[in-house]
Each structure stands twice: as structure tokens, then as C-alpha cells.
Amino acid sequence: MRSVVRRLARHAVVLALTVVAPAALVAGTPAHADAAARHETLREFQPTGKYEWQPAEKTDKTTVLYFSVRAAAYVLRGAGVTTPILVRTGTRVVESFPEEAALPRDDGGFDLKADVKLTELGKFELDGMSIKIDVTGLKGRLVAASAVLGWHKGEDLLTHRPEYARDAKAYEPIAADVEALRGCKGEIRLFVYFGTWCATCTTVMGRILRVEEELAKGCKPDEKPHVVIDYYGLPTAPNTWTDPEAAKYALDVLPTALLYVDSTLCRRLFAVDLARPEAALRGALSGR
């Protein structure tokens, strides 16, 4: 009896060492295994709206442009290119890679596989303010995206500028201020004057859009939130301040937001206020 027990115990130890332990190791480290499959630097590519791809031959096919801070590189993907293209800004090298090498991320971006096979196609040239690409299978330019002009709703901007959408998602407004501003009667209007080319505007637009989203919660589709926000995109210099809207309100700095209560201009808000838009709105409305 004792020898049977000893043999069973020996088998159990062997089983534990050869099967259970490795299985536990593998099961316990899925992230490590997954991270090892992703490239060390060619990762964290996110959609960008700052630049756009202009192919040499016009096409209806869509090309999405991505950028990675870590890689300092752009990627062109989509129906408009036969294979994804990697454009490295510092070395100016243009390379292609297989679509299956792009590993999706939870945030809508992607990483490249650690063992991605890159095929060098050539180098790009700088042509004025654009990147000119003329390599095998790809001809066109990367240019600064056209400025968003005129009146727009927030959802337009979130679509046009993925950077705004990411900033909006990351921003945490002060809950008490948002709660104080909630309502569904549409009495208050905020007109935000900005430029998609304006670096300072870019730092706060996501925050304003997030606050707008929070204020709309709880309102029915046919209702308007307490604070209705409209956005007006201004052109780049030298036409910025001669734009009719800018001239009408004597704007001289961006971003500027005009707060109206009962059709009366209550306050002008600037970048330093719009860094915390919900606090600025609540303060402006309570201090009337």
C-alpha cells in the first residue's frame, strides 16, 4: 500500500512539473507573449487628420493616414493603396509591408508585427510644404490637411480630426461643473472660433468636444442641451482676421469662444479658460 502511494505521489510530481507548471506559465503571461510579437518601435500608429494623402491620379478609393510618435512615421492604408506603405520622416525612406503585419489595437490604431517584412521602395522628397512620394506603385503627396472652414457641429470635427476625438476621450471634466450645466432647454449658446491649423486650439478642442458630449447626455433626440455649442473654423494667415466672422466680432486670438445667454453676449473665453471648459462655463454663467 505504501509503495503504491509513493508511486502515485511520484507520478503527481512529474505531472505537475511537466504539464501543469508550463501550462500555468503560458496561461499566466498572455500579454507578455503578445507584446513580444509586436515591433519595438513601429507601433502605436493612430489615425491622423493633420495631413492628407493626395494621389497623383485621382481616385474614389479611400486611403487612411496613420502616424506614430514612437516611430516618427506615417502609414498609408486602405483601398487607395495596393499594400500598406510606411513613410519614415527622419530617414525619408518609403517602405511597403503586408497588410497582415498590422496588429489592431483596442484604441483603433495598430502595431506592426515584430517580424514584419519591410520592402524598401525608395525615398520621398520635400517639395515646398509637402512630402512628394514617387516610388514603385505609389505616386502622390502628403500635404497638410485643408483647414476646416465655416460653421460645423462637434460630430463633424470628431470625424475630421481623430486627434480631437482621442483628446476628448482622454479628458476627464469636473463632474460637479458638468452637472451644474446640464439641462435640455437649449438656452445658452457657445460659439467657438478656432483653426484646425492652430496649435493652441488643438490642445483644447478635444476638451470642449468632450464637455459638449457630456452635456448632451440625458437629453432626448428632439431636445437641445442647456448649452449648445457651434464651431467656426477660420482660415490660415493672412486671411484669418479678415474672415467676415472674425472681423464682425473683432477676433484677434484663437481660440476664442463667445458665450451668449438670451441672445446677449455674456463673456469671451480664451485658451486659458477653455483648458477647463466646464469650469469656465459654470464660472461665467454664475458670475453674470
Partner: protein, 325 residues
């Protein structure tokens, strides 16, 4: 010798009031000169930039003119404070005051007429005292001229001034020139600029138009940030781009901002050519120039207050280990 022929015969000797006023005038003028010289000594490179901007580097280089001008201010200031009010000293002092008034007066006229703006730091005090062109001209007119006139009321007696005082002024002049040569390499940035630990970001503004750093970087008011003031053409900064990219991508420490006076177009080009993935914020020169003697210069901000400054790039590795922004 007849009494009447003495240089200061009783009938020709300045009265007590005139002598008193002359001494007060000399002390005020001497004090202003020394204060102005000190502000320029801390950042002679900025003063040389002003000289260059004003087109005063005709015969000698702007750096040489700056060093000599600083020496002259120190020498004259000390001489006046030590009571050396000989006609030679007063003549040179008058010429210097006239020159300052010419500079500030010209800037005032340009400003009033809407012509090309002269440097906002022209005149006496460099970047330590930001004055609008109108302020600079009016203050110099009201301060310097009465003091100068008072000083002329009672020049020093005709007898040679004490040698010790003259030697003292000359030694101080030589010392000032030597210090001006060495100053750029001394750790004086916190003293010489308008950026130091404890400084509030909300107070970093231009004097003339009240444009502030917070208008360009509104998010500095909250959280932790590290700001690098950079010249995009600087090879030292260019070499640091990969490290800055990695820091920005890891997003572990305070949020990184690079501030430059380059245009938006130049920033875009830099992004393409240098592979910069971090945020570069074009900002007006008038806001940024008073914050550094040499670029790059960096600083750490917590909730709108500068907590540390660094000559050069910030210590990115240790910042990566600190709490994020």
C-alpha cells in the same frame, strides 16, 4: 595767488544746495547705471542681440560693443557714486544718457507710427525689466535727464580727483568687461532671465501687449509638464529628437512640450525632416526670448508653477520615472 583767481573762489563756489543736488543727481544716475549694467552683465548675449537689432554693430562686432558698453556703464556709475564728477566724466555720462534717449525715443516713435518694432528691451535694463517702448522712453526721460542736470550743477572741484577713486572705477570697469566675457558660461540663467523656480506661468507675459505663455500653452495651469525651449536649427536639439520621441511615446512622466519661435510652416517642415513626433508649439518671440540666455533651456511645471529649470535638455530618464502629467 589772488583769492579771486582760485578755481573755486568763494564768489564762484557752488552753493550748498547746488552741491547737494549735484550729489543726489550723481548718486541717482550712478545707481541707475550700475543697475542697468548688472542686468546686462547677466545676459550680455541678449544685449548683443539688441545692439545687432538696433544696427549699432557698424565698426565693432555686437559682442564687443556690448562688452565695452557694459564696462563703460559700470565705470561711469561707480565714478559718479564715488564723487568723481569731473567734466570729462560728466561729458561721457551726458553722451551715454543722450544715446539711451535716442534708442528709446526711436523705439517710441516707431511704436507710435506703427513702423517696425524696435526691441522691447532697448534702453537700460535688458530683459530683467520688460518695458513697452512708451514706458522706456518716458521713464528714461523723467529719470535720467533731471539726474544729469542736477549732476552738472556742481562738478567736482578743479583739483584732480582722488586717485584711489579713479583707480577703483577703472578696476571695476575692467572687472565688468571680464565678467561680461565669462557670463554666458556661468550658471546665471535663473538670475538673468524671467524664468526661475517658483515663477508662475501666468506671470510670464510681455510688457507691451500682455501676451502670455499660458495663452500658447493653456494646459500648463494643471498637472505636470516639462517644457523645452528650443531652436529647431540647433544641431544639439536635432540630435536629441529620437530621445524626445521616445519620451513622448512612452508617456510616463510629465507631458512634454517643445516651444519654439519658428513659424508654423517651419515646425511642419521640422516634423518631416527631423522625424519629430512630439508636440512643438510655435510661440511669439517676445514671450519666449526673456526666458533664456542660450537654447535649449528646459523647465518643469506643476499646476502652473515652475518647480525646476535646466540649462539644456531636461533629465528625461528621471522624469520618466516621476508621475505623469
Amino acid at each position: 595767488m589772488p583769492l579771486a583767481d582760485l578755481p573755486y573762489a568763494p564768489s564762484r563756489r557752488p552753493g550748498r544746495w547746488r552741491r547737494g543736488l549735484a550729489i543726489v543727481g550723481a548718486v541717482v544716475l550712478g545707481g541707475i547705471f550700475l543697475l542697468a549694467a548688472w542686468s546686462k552683465l547677466l545676459d550680455p548675449v541678449a544685449f548683443a542681440d539688441v545692439i545687432r537689432d538696433e544696427g549699432l554693430d557698424i565698426v565693432l562686432s555686437a559682442t564687443t560693443v556690448a562688452q565695452l558698453a557694459i564696462g563703460l556703464e559700470v565705470g561711469l556709475g561707480l565714478a559718479l557714486l564715488l564723487g568723481v564728477r569731473t567734466r570729462t566724466v560728466l561729458a561721457i555720462t551726458t553722451a551715454l544718457v543722450a544715446f539711451f534717449l535716442f534708442l528709446t525715443g526711436r523705439a517710441f516713435v516707431y511704436d507710435q507710427m506703427g513702423w517696425k518694432r524696435a526691441s522691447a528691451s532697448c534702453g537700460c535694463f535688458g530683459h530683467l525689466l520688460e518695458r513697452s517702448p512708451t514706458e522706456a522712453f518716458v521713464q528714461d526721460l523723467l529719470l535720467l535727464v533731471p539726474a544729469l542736470v542736477a549732476t552738472w550743477l556742481a562738478p567736482s572741484p578743479g583739483a584732480p580727483a582722488p586717485m584711489r577713486r579713479i583707480l577703483g572705477a577703472l578696476v571695476a570697469t575692467a572687472g565688468a568687461v571680464v565678467f561680461a566675457v565669462a557670463a554666458p558660461n556661468l550658471p546665471l540663467d535663473d538670475l538673468a532671465t524671467r524664468l526661475w523656480p517658483g515663477q508662475k506661468v501666468s506671470e510670464i507675459c510681455t510688457a507691451a501687449e500682455q501676451k502670455c505663455l499660458r495663452d500658447a500653452l493653456p494646459l500648463l495651469a494643471e498637472g505636470r509638464h516639462v517644457v523645452v525651449l528650443a531652436d529647431l536649427d540647433d544641431p544639439k536639439f536635432l540630435a536629441a529628437v529620437p530621445e524626445l520621441n521616445l519620451y513622448a511615446a512612452n508617456a510616463k512622466g510629465p507631458r512634454l512640450w517643445v516651444v519654439t519661435t519658428a513659424s508654423a510652416d517651419a515646425v511642419a517642415m521640422f516634423g518631416f525632416t527631423a522625424g519629430a513626433g512630439f508636440t512643438i508649439q510655435p510661440t511669439e518671440k517676445a514671450i519666449v526670448r526673456p526666458l533664456y540666455r542660450r537654447l535649449p533651456r528646459s523647465f518643469h511645471v506643476v499646476d502652473g508653477v515652475v518647480t525646476a529649470t535646466w540649462d539644456g535638455l531636461p533629465p528625461l530618464r528621471s522624469l520618466s520615472a516621476s508621475p505623469p502629467g
